[in-house]
């Protein structure tokens, strides 16, 4: 390709504090419209904001997890614009002195590590929600406003223009989400809007140092739309440039139904937000001791955890990535490993049958009924030769359904694999005696005969005979 793509992301994440950023109202999602409100978040005349300390703490935690510098002096500013979901017609945000600056996170692309810079992380309040009377905004004659979300705390994470493809953008967003989940400051549910993303994208001829003209992409409501919207925009801009045209600086929206981006407003129509320092709040002075206290609460982060799984358990980079994608899965893995030494089998089960089951059931690992110790027990039963892989699957299904331990299920259903030398020998001898023709065939070089005999033995034992042992015995006896 003759163009290089340049992408930067602005990620908004709702913080999971109990109360809102500037008042005591609950941040709970849902609730009847306008029930989680008070004079402060409704912006009634005369009210004043008071900063929720937990919001500052969570923002600092996010900054530390993303390798940011925490500014000892930061402040809030007002971003002025009119919109009916914004009761004061200004958003209290941070402009020139955000709480966190100059950070980075790493992504893995094509087996290599790539560092993406984080320009800043700042705190701000969320707006309310408009409910339109019609199917679309343009066909609606009226709108209702629900202020429950007004004042829910947000952090905005602004990246450097360091991504070079839509895939990198998606990987970056996944990493941001993973980190926020690991440090437990956000639910990061894109479908509920607790994680939102805007993207800036521009193209430039390969080798050119200056950036091309960018467009800002909005309404990217899922990881899929981030990648697809950017892919569309990449092609659209390339076509314009190919035809000798010029990309216009504008804000565009991703239309998920039609799979296109559409112009929202041009640079000329862009808002003048008239930022100025929020006079109703005092500057935020962060003591170094507080930063260290917060740093001490940081858990092991996705990258460190991944490398530990590779170093300690010998997992492949791919497996370790998959296991550490969410903190809950990684925690589950670690819990399983407390009861078994076989990381490979445990990983295969988590990434295979367990993940498949979770996907089908539409639940996460935190809601998974099987205890880590029980999964480890299943691994142990396989390793001891008690369960064949086929039997293990059946037992797993039973574990999920009944919540019983694998040992209990094996005992109850008599599923135990027969590995007793004497018992197997008797069955093998009996089978050989019943099938003299097969012995002849085998000796004549027909390998199929062996398979037939194994099948007969399995039938007699209802699949419980240890297949490796009977294979060896049959071959030995027919020599």
């Amino acid at each position: 390709m003759k163009y290089e793509t340049v992408i930067g992301l602005e990620v908004h994440s709702e913080l999971k504090t109990k109360s809102k950023i500037f008042c005591g109202c609950t941040t709970a999602f849902g609730g009847d419209p306008n029930t989680h409100v008070c004079p402060v978040c409704l912006g009634l005349p005369g009210v004043l904001p008071v900063i929720n300390k937990r919001v500052v703490e969570f923002a600092i935690k996010a900054g530390l997890a993303m390798n940011c510098e925490i500014l000892p002096f930061s402040k809030f500013d007002r971003k002025n614009y009119y919109y009916p979901d914004l009761p004061k017609n200004f958003q209290t945000s941070q402009y020139d002195l955000p709480i966190c600056v100059n950070g980075h996170i790493d992504i893995e692309i094509n087996g290599e590590t790539k560092r993406i810079g984080i320009t800043r992380i700042h705190m701000e309040e969320d707006a309310g929600k408009l409910v339109h009377s019609g199917d679309t905004i343009t066909s609606s004659s009226s709108a209702l406003v629900d202020y429950n979300r007004t004042g829910v705390p947000l952090i905005e994470i602004v990246s450097e223009p360091d991504m070079r493809s839509p895939e990198e953008a998606k990987l970056y967003l996944e990493k941001v989400k993973a980190i926020l989940e690991y440090i437990d400051v956000s639910d990061c549910k894109m479908q509920e809007g607790s994680l939102r993303c805007d993207a800036n994208i521009s193209l430039r001829p390969v080798g050119q140092a200056e950036f091309g003209t960018k467009s800002e992409l909005k309404n990217l409501n899922s990881f899929r739309s981030v990648q697809r919207g950017l892919e569309y925009e990449e092609l659209r801009q390339a076509e314009i440039l190919d035809e000798g045209g010029r990309v216009i600086q504008e804000t565009r929206t991703w239309d998920e139904q039609q799979n296109v981006t559409k112009s929202l407003r041009s640079k000329e129509e862009a808002h003048d937000y008239r930022y100025f320092p929020e006079p109703d709040l005092v500057p935020i002075i962060v003591a170094p001791e507080w930063i260290e206290e917060i740093r001490a609460t940081l858990p092991e982060l996705p990258d460190a955890r991944k490398h530990r799984l590779m170093d300690v358990y010998g997992l492949s980079a791919y497996d370790a990535d998959m296991i550490t994608m969410t903190r809950a899965m990684a925690d589950y893995f670690d819990a399983v490993m407390e009861h078994t030494a076989d990381a490979k089998t445990a990983t295969n089960w988590l990434m295979g049958d367990v993940s498949a089951y979770l996907n089908n059931a539409g639940i996460t690992i935190t809601e998974f009924a099987v205890k880590p110790a029980d999964l480890a027990q299943l691994v142990a039963l396989i390793n001891k030769g008690v369960l064949s892989s086929k039997l293990a699957k059946a037992v797993f299904e039973e574990m999920v359904a009944s919540g019983k331990t694998p040992e209990a299920i094996v005992k109850e259903k008599g599923l135990e694999q027969i590995s007793d030398q004497g018992a197997l020998e008797a069955i093998v001898d009996e089978t050989l005696a019943e099938n003299p023709k097969s012995i002849e065939d085998f000796r004549a070089g027909k390998d199929r005969a062996l398979g037939f005999l194994v099948g007969q033995i399995m039938k007699k034992t209802k699949g419980k005979a240890n297949p490796a042992m009977i294979n060896d015995m049959l071959k030995e006896k027919m020599k």
């Binding site: 004079p39 409704l42 912006g43 009634l44 005349p45 005369g46 009210v47 004043l48 904001p49 008071v50 900063i51 007002r78 002025n80 009119y82 009916p84 009761p87 004061k88 017609n89 200004f90 709108a143 406003v145 003048d272 008239r274 930022y275 100025f276 006079p279 109703d280 709040l281 005092v282």
Partner: protein, 486 residues
Amino acid sequence: MELFKLTAHELHDKLVARETSSTEITRAIFDRIEKVEGQVQSYLTLTKDLAFEQAAAVDAALAKGEAISPLAGIPGALKDNLCTTGIRTSCASKMLEHFVPPYNATVVEKLAAEKAVFIGKVNMDEFAMGSSCENSAYQLTRNPWDLSVVPGGSSGGSAASVAACEAIWSLGSDTGGSIRQPASFTGTVGLKPTYGRVSRYGLVAFASSLDQIGPITRDVTDCALVMNAIAGHDHRDSTSVPGETPDFTKALGQNVKGLKIGLPTEYFGAGLDPQIDTVLQKAIRQLQDMGAEVVECSLPHTEYALSAYYLIATAEASSNLARYDGVGFGHRGAGDNIVDMYKRTRTEGFGAEVKRRIMLGTYALSSGYYDAYYLKAMKVRTLIKQDFDKAFEQVDVLLTPTAPTVAFKIGGIVDPLSMYLQDVCTIPINLAGVPALSMPCGFVNGLPVGMQLIGKPLDEMTLLRVAHAFEQQNDYHKQFAPLGGI
């Protein structure tokens, strides 16, 4: 003497001595209102039922022999930009004509806890923008000393109600002189406390970094009593000062011997009415005779204060007043779509001065102008603050005129810029955040003249000390506006 002519502390003594009751006092006030309100027009809303209920509660407490606080049972007036639960709070604007807050301002809560009696809500310049009370969307409040002149503004109703004996005390708010200039025009005592001394929670914001609530009273003792009731840290106002609040009455009854009083030359310059200067010079000599040391000093950046103020205050106002859009509360204009509705709402709801300031402030914050206007104004503000810091290294208090003239004729100042010059002596104090008090110190052509005392940050005590000592040597505070048979 008629009850309505007494001060809060005199009435308190009578209540405690059981010589009168709060109900009698309250009735006296409403009778007085009946008599003179037609001429003065201080009140936008009267809360008669509430007042008598509150009075009865205090009388019941007294009957049981309970001790009462100094303002218990004493009727007062609240500026109509202080939120009152269940009582219309209009800010003298069409925009909030029917706005009934679901909550009380912190100062209202505190006064209610003291069992003070609320007579009603008083007139003001719309959203506290003005210096004459002529910018009210509802009515013209007149100066009780001369019904053809203004009471000052924006707390014109607060000052006029006290001067006309329609209230014993009142609360105003002061962003650039809105307590002190009306106090000066009506011969009352008005205090703008240090920024942060009194909680702003529930005060409808004009310019958040400059607004302060303060008392307007007949004498200095009452000023201290109201301050005792309303001052103090409030967890709902992040800009309110933490820590202990002094007992302001401890400043009373002392002398001024050895106290250093500074006269900033910039305040006694060309714009000052020579007759006012004469009155002030007499007051200054009096203070010298009382043992104070008087020195000249300088606040060199004073000339830039007015310009800086009208950028900072309007910038903040343009944002603070953005919420009046017809969506959630207040006036809503008809419109086919949201933008039309916004435009109609704000065109119909705001008066000319409010619109002028919103436009000024919007311009000052606009991209490309921010550095030249807002940012530069903020730098000037820092220099002005430093002027005061330096002056206070030399002196204990500063003394200046409160306003360059006495109260002017209604309709006498039409040009907005001339009106803004009314605040030339009071504005720097808000920019610096320091406390200042205006008290009567004489008359010119039968109209009161105000003397402004300016103190160090959080040093309201020294202001009250000087003011009370001066008051004891004079009887300006015992003179009444010639109105309604007085």
